[in-house]
Structures are given as structure tokens and as C-alpha cells.
Amino acid sequence: MSAALDTLAVEEAVLDVVVEAGDGFVGTVPAGGSFRIVDLNGNQAADTLFFDAHDLSNRYSAMDTIREQGAVYLTTGSKLLSSNLDLLATITGDTCGRHDTVGGACAQESNVIRYGRHTRHQHACRETFVKYAASIGMSARGIPHNINFFMNVPLTSDGGLTFADGVSAPGKYVEVRAERDIVVLISNCPQLNNPCNGWNPTPIRLLGWWQ
């Protein structure tokens, strides 16, 4: 089943869930299925990982994906590769424009480094990742560097990196086609200390189409 965007009717989706800010999701998308993440209110980072559903050690690899596509940002056409260079999913639709995969996920400990000790007990993406990963038998050891859908982290030719705002907006979405049976693991980012969620984390909607 190919995933031409305008042919996918929301009412025909077999998956349709809203993930609140700071919550997560884990689920399987069969090969050929289309999976869409909608940024309902805009500027909401959706920290996302993909795994080979039949071998969870064959998992999304940010650096292999960046190198093999020869570009830092993800957008329509980006082939999301595993650590074994297997194709997990392809981005088939993107009304946002580009997405980060260098910046990783927030953690309570990295918040302390970035913002100070007072943030140690704020909720963070890696809390969500390990919780939902545990439900499929995966520990922290199995969690690699992720994609930040809807997040804008420009790298510069002189070696700089910044966190910027303003690429996404209410209703923008990104869609991938599963190129094999995949597990999707998402943390809907609760970060309050930088503009990645517009200073106000909000829900995302997940839609899926498959036989």
C-alpha cells in the first residue's frame, strides 16, 4: 500500500490516538503501513524511535541515517536506517519541512547539566522512553539516539549548533511508511526549559493506516 497523503482519510485510520504532553506510545506498524504524527497545537517535539519488530537490537541509528543520506536534517524522502543499515521506514509526507536527529532526547540528568540542579525532578523524555520500552522487554541499554520530529536544531558550517523555534505549527504532520514490520516508540516531549515545545508542551495525534 503506497502512502499518497491525500488518499489517506482520517476516518479510515486503524490507529487514532492522542498522546498527551509528557506521555508516550509504543506500538507496531506492519510493513507497508503508514504512520502519521500530527502536531496538534504546534511546536511540539515528538521524540521518536523505530525498531525492527522482529529484532529490537536492529534499531534506528541517527548517525547512520545522516551519513547515508548525506544530510543532517530529516524530511520527505529520508530513509530511516537501522544500526545494520536496514531500511526501517521512509518519510513519505512532511508538512513541517525538516526534523532534527542530532539533538537526542531530554533526560532528568541532562536537564541538570543544561539548566541546573533544580530541574532534576522535572519529567523528561527518557523517563517516558524507559517506561514504554520496558513494556516490550527493553531496557535503557537498548534505547539509541532518537529523532525529534517537529524540532529545529540548526547546525552551522563553522561547527555550531543552536536550538531554534518556529518550524512547526498547529496541524502540521509527518508521515512514514514502514518498510518492514516496525515498533514505534514515542515520547511526547515534556521539556519546559527551552523552546523545543514552544515553552508549553501539548498533545500529539497518532494516525495509522494498514491492512
Binding site: 537490537s57 541509528s61 541517527a62 548517525m63 547512520d64 545522516i66 551519513r67 548525506g70 544530510a71 543532517v72 536534517y73 524530511t75 544500526s83 545494520n84 543499515l85 519541512g97 525538516r98 542530532v102 539533538g103 537526542g104 532526547a105 533526560a107 532528568q108 540528568e109 541532562s110 541538570v112 547539566i113 543544561r114 541546573g116 527518557r126 531496557s139 535503557a140 541499554r141 537498548g142 539509541p144 539516539h145 536544531v153 540548526p154 547546525l155 552551522t156 558550517s157 561547527g159 555550531g160 549548533l161 543552536t162 536550538f163
Partner: protein, 234 residues
């Protein structure tokens, strides 16, 4: 003062070494075009490993250079880059896999003996398995001595910068906690030829440092990572 340990890793090989906190790991390119794909683990808890995304975003950098602090998953400064003859070490394009080595033709021990072309993945996994680790413990590496630049375009196109390192180029890493260092000298995966080089590894005694240390004063984030490393065992 002579190093505590000196070990030259030949081109295309892999190595691992346990390093005490406070000591300095000096890597030296022994040939032009050397590459050193390097993984770091906290020796006391090897689930806590180098986290390149955290390292880059906390220090607002797309490359590794002095005096950055290399940070772990759980917010420790694992090592400080105390100096380098190069101002750019790649950390965003991963290590070579067997598919990269196979571009240069078939190679095996049977046909080529110890000159056979082994990918960084082959070597890193070989070393990881000696320590009871494996594929789940692979993470984004630092490719010391290699440079991959990004364009300022919307796509952020990568450019392989050939000839970045020359024989004699060096980098020093101060271990901030006891470390397991795992490295491969296989060519960078974007290197268009199977050209690589040997890398010298020296472990030196370090010196105590204070609040005026360049890695402490670099950024508040760097200082906080170093302070966290001091609090590993309270």
C-alpha cells in the same frame, strides 16, 4: 614523564583499555588520514555511556573540540578534551560497517591474513564482546582526526573533508571517571578509499585541576557535567 602505557594500534584494527579517573589518554595520528572511531563507557556502570547528542547540545557544538566535556547518558562528564592539534573531530556520521569495507573488494583472513579489511563495526564489536558487551552497547562514536562539515543550506548537506589529519596530530582526553575506552582505527565510512592510519595510544598521569580549568570555565554546562562526575560515588 613517560606514559604509564604506550600502545600503537595499527591501521584498521581495534583496541580497548580501562583508564583510571584523572589519567590522560593521548591519541596520536601516526599516519596521514588516520581515523579513530571511539566509544566511551563509565567503567563502574557500562549502561552509562557516551551520549553524543547530549554532549553536542549541552555545549552548542556540531563537532568535538577542546575544551569540551564528553558527557554520558546519565549526565556525567566522562572525559574532557584537554587539548588537540585539530579543532574539529567528527561525531555525527558514525563508524564504518562491513558494507563500507566491502566497497573495496572481498577480503578475509584466509586470503589476506592480518591485512584483511575489517570495518570499525567488526572491530568495535570484537572488543565490546571481550567485556561482555555487544550490539546494544553501540552508540554514536567520536571519529577523532576526521572532519565532516555541514552546509548552512536547508538540507544541512554533509561534506567529507579529506586530508584533515596529518601524522603527528593529537588529542588528549582526561578521564573524569574510570573509563572503558573502545576504539577502532578503520577508515571513516565517508573516506573514499580504504585509507587509514595507525593511532598511538598513550595513558599518562594527569594533574589535579580546579575551577580555572579550561573545561570548567568553558560553559556552565561543562562545569556541571564535571561536578556530576565528582559525585558518582558519594
Amino acid at each position: 614523564m613517560s606514559p604509564l602505557l604506550t600502545h600503537d594500534v595499527p591501521s584498521g584494527a581495534a583496541y580497548s583499555v580501562l583508564v583510571r579517573a584523572g589519567r590522560v589518554v593521548r591519541l596520536t595520528a601516526l599516519d596521514d588520514g588516520a581515523n579513530c572511531s571511539t566509544l566511551l563507557f563509565a567503567a563502574h556502570d557500562r549502561v552509562d555511556r557516551l551520549n553524543v547528542p547530549d554532549t553536542l547540545k549541552a555545549q552548542m557544538s556540531a563537532r568535538i573540540c577542546a575544551p569540551m566535556v564528553l558527557m554520558s547518558d546519565r549526565g556525567l562528564g566522562l572525559a574532557s578534551v584537554t587539548g588537540s592539534s585539530l579543532d574539529w573531530h567528527d561525531a555525527i556520521s558514525g563508524h564504518s560497517l562491513d558494507a563500507h569495507a566491502e566497497r573495496f573488494g572481498a577480503s578475509s583472513y584466509g586470503s589476506d591474513r592480518n591485512e584483511w579489511r575489517r570495518s570499525a563495526r567488526h572491530g568495535l564489536l570484537s572488543e565490546l564482546r571481550k567485556h561482555g558487551l555487544g550490539p546494544l552497547d553501540l552508540h554514536a562514536c567520536v571519529n577523532f582526526f576526521s572532519k565532516v562539515a555541514t552546509s548552512d543550506s536547508d538540507a544541512g548537506t554533509l561534506t567529507w573533508v579529506g586530508g584533515h589529519a596529518s601524522a603527528g596530530d593529537w588529542v588528549t582526553l582526561r578521564a573524569e571517571v574510570d573509563l572503558l575506552v573502545v576504539l577502532s582505527t578503520a577508515p571513516h565510512p565517508l573516506e573514499p578509499s580504504w585509507r587509514s592510519g595507525a593511532v598511538g595510544v598513550e595513558i599518562e598521569t594527569g594533574s589535579p585541576y580546579g575551577r580555572d580549568d579550561p573545561s570548567m570555565t568553558f560553559r556552565d554546562e561543562s562545569a556541571r557535567a564535571l561536578l556530576a562526575a565528582k559525585e558518582v560515588f558519594v
